[in-house]
């Protein structure tokens, strides 16, 4: 295990970790008092120091999403879950188009943009953050630390590598160093408990898992076990069922879907653009299909699905792309790229008037677009 991997292990990666625990264990568990900073000479104190240094790097990272309003919004959700531990939990939003969140033992919490794109409401985000806070409150990382220290290669690697590197990388490794099933079960139980205390509908926790499963099953190989997140965790159906069972013990609570949509609205187009450019077409189509079913009139979703179809370009995809682009335009407020995408397909099909009209509309809406020179050359070409 290298140092970065170890540090990743110090963070609680929850993506695959929504593992239900026994309701009895949840009932017996009590939220601990705020933690004092461990002695610097102790193993735990050393881990905190390393994480402090990582947090300094994270603050400066170009991947850090620096928007005070969104930051305050997500921090507030975390605080509602963390209760009296709120002053110790520091949320950092990270621009990475993957579903992930993590929490370090010193209170540094990372929330990735791919997670924020995928959750439907506050309660679903709270399910993930609550799980992370569950690891923190149960101090699972200390057990991980002591387990890592027992491995002979650990000390050598710590000495060999000076700089740790990008903090954003941590989550990528975290899945490989997942907590034990017992830890995951406990964190999940705690997460549901915190959701209830904060007034969220705990039934949304199972939906997070259900939604993620849709994307994983859509992969060309359809093999969830190849994902590091799933390699160390119980079967999906068991987890989803047990989470739903935990939620049934205390129904009701808020989902806050409207608030969440308003909160992330300014970022949606950027996040969708990053999702499309991941090139994971089948996963993106599953994700967008779910989103469009919830909000069929939202032009951004229809544009994004059109882009995915156009870039995948399998048989029938270009027809589907045209349908999506036209639906985006019909809905109004479509991204300018909608017209570019349409123009590209019409040009390839030698439908010159339609292509020219689409490109001209794109240039009207986005005159400073980085590819405007190329599009202008197409407009000229289509005149002849």
């Amino acid at each position: 295990m290298n140092r970065r991997g170890f540090l990743a292990g110090g963070c609680a990666c929850c993506v695959g970790g929504l593992v239900p625990g026994p309701a009895a264990a949840q009932a017996a568990w009590e939220i601990p008092a705020r933690f004092a900073r461990p002695d610097a000479g102790s193993d735990e104190g050393g881990l905190w120091s390393m994480m402090d240094r990582e947090e300094v790097r994270l603050r400066k990272s170009p991947f850090s999403l620096r928007d005070p309003k969104l930051q305050a919004y997500v921090q507030d959700i975390a605080c509602r879950l963390a209760g009296e531990h709120c002053p110790d939990v520091r949320v950092h939003l990270v621009r990475t188009p993957l579903f992930n969140a993590s929490m370090a033992p010193n209170g540094m919490m990372q929330v990735w943009s791919g997670l924020m794109l995928r959750v439907d409401n506050e309660a679903q985000l709270a399910a993930v953050l609550g799980h992370e806070i569950g690891h923190y409150l149960a101090r699972h990382s200390v057990e991980r630390l002591r387990d890592a220290k027992s491995r002979s290669a650990f000390g050598m690697f710590i000495g060999m590598f000076g700089a740790v590197g990008a903090v954003g990388q941590l989550g990528l490794y975290a899945g490989m160093f997942a907590y034990s099933r017992e830890h995951e079960s406990q964190a999940d139980s705690i997460g549901v408990l915190l959701m209830r205390k904060a007034g969220y509908d705990a039934a949304e926790a199972a939906k997070v898992w259900e939604n993620l499963q849709l994307e994983i099953k859509a992969r060309p190989d359809g093999d969830a076990s190849r994902s590091p997140f799933f390699a160390t965790h119980p079967p999906a159906a068991d987890r989803q069922q047990a989470l739903a069972e935990l939620a049934r013990a205390s129904p009701a609570g808020a989902a806050n879907e409207v608030q969440w949509r308003e909160g992330v609205k300014p970022f949606l187009r950027d996040w969708l653009h990053e999702e499309v450019k991941r090139g994971q077409h089948e996963e993106s189509l599953a994700l967008l299909g779910r989103m469009i079913a919830r909000s069929p009139a939202l032009a951004d979703y229809r544009w994004a699905r059109g882009e995915v179809y156009r870039l995948r370009a399998k048989e029938g995809d270009l027809d589907s792309a045209v349908t999506e682009y036209l639906a985006a335009i019909a809905g109004g407020g479509e991204p300018p790229d909608t017209h570019r995408g349409l123009g590209m397909i019409y040009r390839a099909r030698r439908q010159s008037p339609e292509a020219r009209t689409s490109f001209q509309r794109y240039l009207e809406l986005a005159p400073e677009a980085p590819d405007s020179a190329l599009i202008k050359s197409y407009v000229e070409e289509l005149r002849t």
Partner: protein, 190 residues
């Protein structure tokens, strides 16, 4: 157990040593592309970038010139051994310039790096109609911000492209003229 990390370090360093000088003058890149160099380059062994041939001025990972010569329809444009769970990016003969750039964007961001297109314009390359693009890339592994420059064309259904990227403040401006000159000199045999 202590020998394992030492051996790993040895092989890591040994891999770094695989460098070959490319002299100035006319050089063949693959079977169909020729370029004229006004100065020497270093060719490095980079299995992680295959099928691209990789040249550098400063040494990887500081800067790299990726040379794609004669990439065929459906050919994957990156190494597939590592990260087998991730999607492959493959060239299709019918791709338009924006799709080719999107393909390179996908390839360069497989590790979580972020890519931003700065400019995409038509340009002759290799004696044929092609395109030129500029981009910025924030590398995930070390947060370094790079500038990038690319040229491409499709000839007889095969892709020919050059991509150069380097840290934006010093190294990229230092070597950009050399890359531009090389791209201008490119000739593709039909």
């Amino acid at each position: 157990m202590r020998t394992l990390p030492i051996a790993a370090l040895f092989f890591l360093l040994a891999g770094c040593a695989s460098v070959e000088k490319v002299e100035s003058g006319e050089r063949s890149l693959g079977e169909r592309m020729l370029v004229s160099l006004d100065g020497p380059w270093n060719k490095v062994s980079a299995p992680d970038r295959e099928p691209a041939v990789v040249w550098t001025m400063e040494g990887r990972p500081v800067d790299e010139l990726l040379i794609y010569s004669g990439i065929k329809n459906e050919q994957v444009i990156h190494a597939t051994a590592m990260g087998a769970n991730r999607k492959n990016f493959a060239f299709r003969s019918g791709m338009q310039p924006d799709e080719i750039v999107a393909m390179f964007e996908g390839m360069l961001t497989r590790d979580g790096s972020t890519f931003k297109l700065v400019k995409l314009a038509p340009a002759d390359f290799g004696g044929a109609k092609g395109f030129r693009f500029e981009y910025s890339l924030t590398r995930k592994v070390d947060n370094v911000q790079l500038s990038g420059l690319g040229f491409g064309t499709v000839s007889n259904g095969e892709l020919f492209a050059l991509l150069y990227q380097a840290p934006r403040l010093a190294f990229f401006p230092r070597h950009q003229p050399r890359v531009e000159q090389m791209a201008r000199s490119a000739r593709i045999k039909t």
